[in-house]
Symmetry: none
Subunit: 216 residues, 4 copies
DNA sequence: GATGAATGAGATTTCATTCAT
DNA sequence: TATGAATGAAATCTCATTCAT
């Protein structure tokens, strides 16, 4: 509860994170910690996760943890940065979503991308959505990434003449996140066709009302 | 080696909660604590909430808190029980949801009921949805209540010939909860017509695909 | 409502006691705590002893205490286990106690052993005898150890034709414990010949009635 | 932990204990509290007994407790005073204890008196013997009472030409207390002839070595 | 006389973070 | 680089005692 973020005091001892050059062994240890952290975050949630849980899962020691990260938040920050990158890419790659078959396919692709990202970064996204994070910077990352996707959705929909106000898109994002959460937390394969198809259908209907006539 | 007997004595002091008869003053204090707890849970989330925050908000002392509740979890339990009651009532009262105007109205009524319950018990529901609770009993309550609503939704929909598999209904529930969360956490009036109308429309479309032709 | 899992997490931090490998420094600290605990237990009694008293006496911190023991009871448990071991060894080693000089010597040896064990584990034994312990396991240890000695006494006496019912042996054990307590709590050297001789005489007489004629 | 003994502050509210005239109802309530206290002390020991346990057992309230006693210690004090009175009377009434049949009978009478007193005041005596009491005054009472009996024993024995040093008598007292404790805590009837006979025999032998020839 | 309610000082326990090896 | 050990601030919980009705 002391150390706080970098502002409060000079980073004592071994300066953590990307500040330092890491050799092979170091990179491996750091990776173990990140993997372990994701596992623990997934099990307990970010807030409830203790540094001790993480180092135990990573089969390393407390000392080592602070060799690579300034604190729990710093660890989350590195994961969040990566995650935000993926989400932003997703937003950028989104094509026009129209009521027709092509629009359905486009939506499907986007949703699949989201589910895959969730599969890897779910706990981080959860931390964002559930407001578990205190760090301003990290929150900004999440907010921006989601805003990017939501904005993109809105733009692509309006381009198709669909009235898509903020509330509707907000509801969509909310549903997406929770839906992904359930799938992942239950170990459902997000690449399974049926799952993806159902999700796409519900969302597409939510926006365009009429069911897509696939054969037309 | 003998007399001592015992083993983990009962909490003592004043056995908490409904075990004891309470007079007017006691009931008032207990209510103050519950209200304060809801407020703090809403602000910080259940996990992050400190007993200290709650007693401060209730303008009372630590000792008093433990006079009425065994601990934070016990307090949540009493709130959760009430909340589960409301949700179950909601599930029981749900009428048939058809594609027509009457079905739309029925759905609207149900959704309004949910939003109102969320308005009062949001933090408790969040604690359930976000898996913040350790207590088995409390989790069961939440699980059962949501299952009841989901099941009811499924039944009413199937009665209308709507293919409503588990996944679809699950997605609906997820969206409902998050949507309600956003509304409430931003102080939106859940009784405002526009809000409720939007939500009902999205959901109804999600199920029946075609927009309701209100005038027909 | 899902992921959260868990239920009363394991103590975490460093799992206490023999579960973990300890290095030299750790073993030393643990020993310091045990020694300090015996000192504090002796001064205040087990019940009245505060963890705070113990860590102060061991010149360490609260956090450190819980690194090695789950709580005060757990600490007592490790001490009790050792003590019970010694008492059981004492019971096993006891030879036949007859009215003659050899029997007197045997009794003397046994009593000396008891006093020496008491010298080291007095506070633990007191905790047993005075029923201060809530832990079932610990109580069992004490009960069994005392039963072993009492049974052994009974057997060795009966082998010598001495009528030794349960009540008599019980009274003997009671006296032994209290007697030892007084000696130790007043700093009397339990190896002093006079003390040991008096005790042996009283006990031997209590059983055989006739004074031993040393010269015969 | 505040109130302390009378020295620290003026006895606020209703002055407790014998200071006040009590009517019939008051005397009854006070008696209920004393009885309940003895019960709780017997079960948990004086130290571990909580005021709450006592009032619960007496089916009364915290407020009422402090109407009659300044605190837990004060309650013990009144019980201890009575008990000390009985023990002192016992010491004063003790006749000469000789090796013969008459001496045996005298010893028996004394021991029976002790057991009966223990039957009623056991928990108080335990509190003394186990050093659970912080109050100087109360401790003095106990110390003096036991000293009186021990001294009396010593005098009566020496009058019979028996070498009875302090250690021997001390051991005897210790045994007496523990023995009585076992009997009482197991609900044995201390007036049962067999029990009393065994105890008297062991003690008499312990002092005089030779068994009493009852028929001679 | 009696009682439920309230209090707060103090005890226990947890855990992020730093340190010495 | 790695690690076990140590720390202390903060959180939880208990209980003797006082107060208002």
């Amino acid at each position: 509860m002391t150390g706080g973020s970098a502002s409060k005091r000079p980073p004592a001892g071994g300066t953590p994170t990307e500040q330092r050059e890491l050799r092979a062994q170091g990179r491996r240890t750091m990776q173990r910690l990140r993997t372990a952290a994701m596992k623990v975050f997934a099990e307990r949630g970010y807030q409830a996760a203790r540094v001790d849980d993480i180092v135990r899962a990573a089969r390393t020691s407390h000392g080592t943890f602070y060799l690579y990260f300034a604190n729990k938040e710093d660890l989350l920050r590195t994961l969040a940065t990566e995650c935000a990158g993926e989400l932003n890419a997703l937003a950028a790659a989104m094509g026009q979503i129209r009521p027709d078959v092509a629009g359905y396919a486009e939506l499907r692709t986007t949703l699949e991308g989201f589910l895959r990202t969730y599969e890897r970064y779910g706990p981080v996204i959860r931390a964002w959505m559930e407001g578990q994070v205190d760090d301003r910077h990290v929150n900004r990352l999440g907010l921006d990434a989601f805003l990017a996707i939501a904005t993109s959705f809105g733009r692509q929909l309006r381009a198709s003449g669909c009235r898509s106000d903020e509330v509707t898109v907000g509801a969509l994002m909310a549903m997406l996140e929770r839906f992904a959460y359930y799938l992942v937390s239950r170990g459902v394969d997000v690449r399974a066709t049926a799952t993806l198809e159902t999700l796409t259908t519900v969302v597409h209907r939510g926006f365009f009302g009429a069911p897509v006539v696939l054969a037309a």
